[in-house]
């Protein structure tokens, strides 16, 4: 293992005094009350009300029966499958994004509490991303629309459902009688039954046209595919079969394609027990993405050079023996011969040895390599990727992407719609839970066109920019309150079933549309339709031994249903495209890359506190987006984090704060879109900056990379809340290496295979306290850093399971975020091209825990099964334990954050329903930390007692472990010699963080192995 310099933030790299202060003080700002006591001096309105209320409370208490303990209200007719205090699980399908992962919804006494992946689902195999997990908060969001609304001037009036229905019906009839278009605008539709319903709708209202789109959609990628492989359906790579991966600005591990599946496939080639199967991953990118951070070799390259890079690569590859059709190779070679590797390397500043190495790897693993370009990229770049894959014979590791049930609209069709709207030819526009006013660049003029439509009806869960410009707002049910189905077009069905009655009496949008076909508003009508469609279309096609009801229930129970069919995709390329391809060349101009956001979907989740507070995987920024630029540019322009710059593209301008991101090449700006919503609710207020202002619709047709950008410093600044500096482990850059603390340990795969690896272990350490022997079950965890990609799913799972409050941006700025588990990102090497190491940090449940010794009230103690316990009702909040924790994993409730955040939003009636009843809701003044999910351990122990069996470790799965898409976390009993945990804990690559403190932690980290060649760039 090497001795490298690791750093988390730039101050640390530059070794300034500020970084020392940050590491030594958990709350560098010190203690301040943000409400300000001076404001509440004297009798003011708030104090008067408080006094009145407390007096009333005292009287109420004095006059009531002090022994009264309330009442228990059992069911009148208890449903058979409900056992009070035990969860029920229902299989369904997540609709938070277009991946439609199979989910398992945990409900208690009829209320959904936690979302996990459906283990029987063949695609996501029991795993789910942070957005899917956090979607539970959207269900219980107090700002969900409850009553139908009708526009009245500038405001909205409440309406009853029947009036709404008749008015919409009338406007539909009017439009179709006058021959005006009824436009339905939706996300791409993957539901076969819903598509049938739309056909029925079209039959009744023949002028209906359906438009589907999704935010930041890659039209260039699909266009390139359709033109290059005209006979094949759009496909993606199966990374579990790729030996060499080259990603061009692709974020396939974080938000492109079905990333949950991609992560699983990718890490299946990162198993330390099978070192010969490791894949080698090259990433060429502008932004330092989560995917690039996991690359073995990352080449920072400005986006406009990517075409040249690929062309050069192609030219070099064609010079080698590819065993491909000679005539075609020569033809292409003619087109690309001008791209010379030496010239390119010197022009773009790329390490030529590394590129040669890449070429060798691609040739050696021909047919098992994946060259993938990111969704935001240019059409020509996608085309070149396809060509390279074709000549390398990589089509064998393609698999077909899910195909929407209704073909997606092309961008020109959206333009057509806007034209039709402007011409007044659209009578009714149905907006099915999309937000085009926010999504499309301002210059498309959707907002203006919307005002020319006779009646706009928005079917939405929350207010949005589009909904507020509609004539009618129809509040719709959440996914967890709705029926539905999904078909990926290639054999896999899954079902959506409601797990709770609509909380606010809303209708699901399908119910409403079907009612419009049948002229009568009826709840639950779509459920019947869904069933009859399944009976007709799928059940009666095959011969089943059971009747339909049984078949249907078994499908609902499993959540999925597969048709057995062989898929043939005809990968016959069309090389004629390259006759007219226009070469692109890199320039010295500024380039802006618009990326998909990590955690807020298409902006729909911006009103979700959990997702806003989930730190960005690389920069750890919460509650904002920013313009990421390189350190050299920042120094040159005299900019520091948070300084606002003005970006200009054509005539449009955008003011946005910068954030210096390591690994971004100079003259590049990277911005994540989806932020800056103005009409979304109080959580999303002032979160981020709206990029739609600067985008141009015409340019987005070709991709989301914008050339010829101007960037000017203006004298404004903004505070960005990043957690990167918080809770840093003190690892000063000692000049004496033997004193280094070895928080991150990693090495080369090559060395490991040759037995040359070395894990730093401290000398035999003596303890001053007697050792306690744990003979029975003792809990421990192993985190495999080879598998951890740093996605943050564990943090979200912990939030949901353990009732972690949202604290808000101002509190994050004071280092008071409450997440029990965090993913530390360490950089090594230079600021221009760093290597990234992730480390998931949580309570280490040390045997000799330093926190326990210092607690004056014995509120943190050890259990007989090796857990470091935190007893909330004993804690008086001295915070001494946190001070003494070397791992900085303890969190203090400076406020009752639930009532503190946005005027008690989290204490609103419905939010409370999201709390896990098995975990205490902590109040102000109490310390808390990871418990190793003690509620799950206790549950397993009680189960074992009920079954009269000894407790085994492998039955217990912590929330983070369950959620981890990479299966990097293993939990179990370290005294069980047959368990997977035991094997891993004693693996030769295992180490403890800060082992030299001799606190005997119980979380083992498996050192990361990088698949680099020692002679190239290692």
């Amino acid at each position: 293992m090497e001795d490298k310099r690791y750093w988390k933030f730039f101050d640390e790299l530059q070794d300034t005094a500020k970084s020392e202060k940050l590491k030594q003080e958990e709350f560098p700002e010190g203690l301040k009350s943000d409400k300000g006591f001076e404001q509440t001096q004297g009798i003011n309105r708030r104090k008067f009300l408080a006094l009145t209320a407390s007096t009333a409370a005292i009287f109420a208490t004095a006059c009531s029966d002090y022994r009264d303990k309330g009442s228990i209200v059992p069911y009148n007719q208890q449903p058979e499958n409900i056992q009070i205090g035990k969860p029920n699980f229902y299989a369904s399908t997540c609709t938070s994004c277009l991946n439609h992962c199979g989910i398992l919804i945990k409900t208690r006494e009829g209320r959904p509490l936690k979302i996990d992946g459906n283990p029987d689902h063949p695609i996501n195999k029991g795993k789910i991303c942070p957005i899917g997990q956090a979607s539970i908060l959207n269900l219980y969001h107090p700002e969900r629309l409850r009553k139908p609304l009708k526009k009245n001037g500038k405001s909205f009036n409440e309406l009853n459902w029947n009036t709404l229905f008749t008015e919409i019906l009338a406007s539909l009839e009017k439009a179709s009688n006058n021959g005006k278009i009824v436009a339905i605008l939706s996300q791409p539709i993957f539901s076969p039954t819903f598509v049938k319903l739309i056909y029925m709708f079209q039959a009744k209202y023949p002028t209906t046209k359906v438009y589907t789109y999704s935010y930041l959609e890659s039209y260039s990628k699909e266009q390139a595919w359709e033109e290059f492989y005209p006979k094949a359906k759009l496909s993606e790579f199966d990374f579990s079969r790729a030996n060499v991966i080259l990603a061009i600005e692709s974020n396939f591990l974080a938000n492109e394609g079905n990333f949950v599946r991609n992560i699983q496939d990718f890490v299946s080639k990162r198993d330390i027990n099978r070192p010969n199967e490791f894949s080698r991953f090259y990433s060429v990118e502008t932004d330092l993405s989560l995917t690039g951070a996991n690359a073995d070799y990352r080449i920072p390259l400005k986006a406009d050079f990517h075409y040249e890079f690929l062309a050069t690569l192609l030219n070099e590859l064609l010079k080698r023996d590819l065993n491909y059709n000679r005539a075609i190779v020569e033809k292409i070679q003619g087109k690309f011969s001008r791209f010379n590797l030496e010239d390119f390397a010197s022009k773009a500043g790329v390490d030529i040895k590394l590129v040669r190495n890449l070429i060798d790897d691609l040739i050696q693993n021909k047919g098992k390599t994946a060259v993938i370009a990111g969704d935001s990229h240019f059409y020509e770049v996608h085309l070149l990727c396809l060509l390279i894959n074709e000549v390398l014979g990589n089509s064998s590791i393609y698999r077909i992407c899910p195909q929407p049930s209704l073909p997606k609209s092309k961008l020109f069709e959206i333009e057509e719609l806007v034209t039709l709207m402007n011409q007044g030819k659209v009578g009714v526009l149905f907006n099915l839970d999309t937000n085009p006013v926010f999504h499309f660049p301002s210059d498309l003029g959707f907002e203006n066109a919307l005002s020319k439509v006779e009646s706009v009806v928005s079917f939405v869960e929350f207010e949005s920019e589009t909904a507020n410009r509609s004539h009618y707002i129809v509040p719709i049910s959440h996914n967890f309150e709705s029926w539905g189905d999904y078909y990926d077009g290639i054999g896999l069905f899954s079902t959506i079933q409601p797990v709770i009655e609509p909380l606010f009496g809303t209708y699901q949008k399908e119910d409403f549309l079907l009612s419009l076909v049948q002229n009568k508003l009826e709840r639950g009508i779509y459920h019947k339709y869904l069933k009859s469609n399944w009976q007709e279309s799928y059940f009666s096609q095959e011969k089943y031994a059971v009747d339909f009801e049984k078949f249907w229930h078994s499908v609902l129970h499993d959540g999925t249903f597969e048709l057995k069919q062989t898929l043939i995709n005809d990968y016959t390329p069309n090389f004629e495209l390259f006759d007219k391809i226009e070469h692109r060349f890199g320039t010295k101009d500024w380039v802006l890359v618009i990326k998909k956001p990590y955690f807020i979907g298409d902006g729909k989740f911006l009103n979700n506190g959990w997702l806003n507070e989930l730190p960005h995987p690389i920069t750890k920024v919460t509650w904002d987006n920013y313009a990421g630029i390189s350190q050299s540019d920042a120094n040159r322009l005299g900019l520091k984090n948070g300084d606002i710059v003005e970006l200009g593209y054509g005539k449009s301008k955008l003011e946005i704060p910068i954030f210096v991101v390591p690994g971004i090449p100079s003259s590049s700006v990277v911005i994540e879109a989806g932020f800056g919503r103005k009409e979304s609710g109080i959580v999303a207020e002032n979160v981020g900056f709206y990029v739609g202002k600067i985008l141009q619709f015409e340019t987005t047709k070709k991709g989301y990379i914008f050339e010829k950008i101007s960037l000017n410093k203006i004298n404004k600044s903004y505070q960005i809340a990043t957690t990167v500096e918080h809770h840093s482990l003190n690892d000063t850059f000692y000049s004496e290496l033997h004193k280094k603390r070895h928080i991150i340990q990693e090495g080369l795969l090559e060395d490991y295979k040759n037995g040359k690896y070395h894990i730093h272990r401290p000398h035999e350490l003596k303890s001053i306290v007697p050792e306690i022997k744990y003979t029975d079950v003792k809990w421990a965890m192993v985190i495999d850093m080879n598998k951890c990609v740093g996605c943050g799913a564990c943090i979200m799972a912990c939030n949901v399971e353990n009732n972690i409050p949202v604290v808000g941006k101002d509190q994050v700025l004071r280092s008071r975020e409450m997440q029990w588990i965090r993913v530390d990102t360490y950089f090594s090497g230079t600021a221009e091209n760093p290597e990234v190491s992730f480390q998931t940090m949580l309570c280490q449940h040390c045997d000799d825990a330093p926190c326990e010794n210092v607690c004056p009230v014995v509120a943190t103690v050890h259990s007989s099964d090796g857990l470091n316990l935190m007893v909330y009702n004993r804690c008086v909040g001295t915070r001494y334990c946190s001070n003494n924790c070397p791992y900085k994993v303890r969190r203090f409730n400076f406020f009752d954050f639930r009532s503190h955040f946005k005027n008690g939003l989290l204490y609103k009636d419905t939010y409370k329903l999201a709390n896990n009843p098995e975990v205490t809701v902590r109040s102000r003044g109490v310390m808390e930390k990871c418990t190793f999910c003690i509620q799950r351990i206790t549950e397993a122990r009680h189960q074992a007692i009920a079954e009269n069996k000894p407790l085994r470790g492998n039955g217990v799965r912590t929330a983070c472990q369950e959620a981890c898409p990479a299966n990097a976390i293993t939990f179990g009993d370290m005294n069980d010699k047959e368990s997977e945990l035991y094997q891993l804990r004693n693996h030769k690559l295992g180490y403890y963080v800060l082992e030299e403190l001799n606190v005997k932690p119980n979380v083992t980290y498996i050192a990361k192995l990088r698949n680099k060649k020692s002679e190239v760039g290692a």
């Binding site: 009442s71 228990i72 209200v73 069911y75 009148n76 007719q77 259990s863 009702n873 418990t931 206790t938």
Partner: protein, 190 residues
Amino acid sequence: MLKSQLDYILKVRVPIAAFVVVVTYIITFFVSKPERDGVGYAPEQPINFSHKLHAGDMQIDCKYCHIGVEKGRFATIPSTNICMGCHSVARKDKPEIIRLSQMFMDNIPIKWKRIHRLGDFAYFNHSVHINKGIECKYCHGEVEKMDVVQQVHRLTMGACLDCHRNPHKNMPDLKAQVSKGPEYCGSCHR
């Protein structure tokens, strides 16, 4: 004169007064403790249900109605349909049963007054105790002899720990099957 009076107050009155206050406090503290802990609390229930009749005279097993007790944290107050299992046939003419049936028909859930309650921070689990063979009576008293159920034992942490630490003293007839219960905080608090 003044001096001796002050002397008298300091030497006699103050100590006596202090003594009286302290003794009153101590006596009140201990005498009212069971009351404060809820012992003897026997509220009037919405339906005049007699455990003595059902569990005592007719010997219906507790688990017949409190169905959750072996399976989960909560013993559960029986849902009305459990009552109606018998009472749709039995004793239909009694006024309380008529009331019960009416509530069931009208789909009005019954608001039973809560008698035993632990703090929200304590996660007691019925099933684990029952599955170890510990009978209901050790915490709830002899319910089968009560017409109106009342709290008999203190349900404080001290009471829990007393039993966890000295099971054989507290449950002499279970000497063969029970051993000490867990004492670490995490077994009840999480």
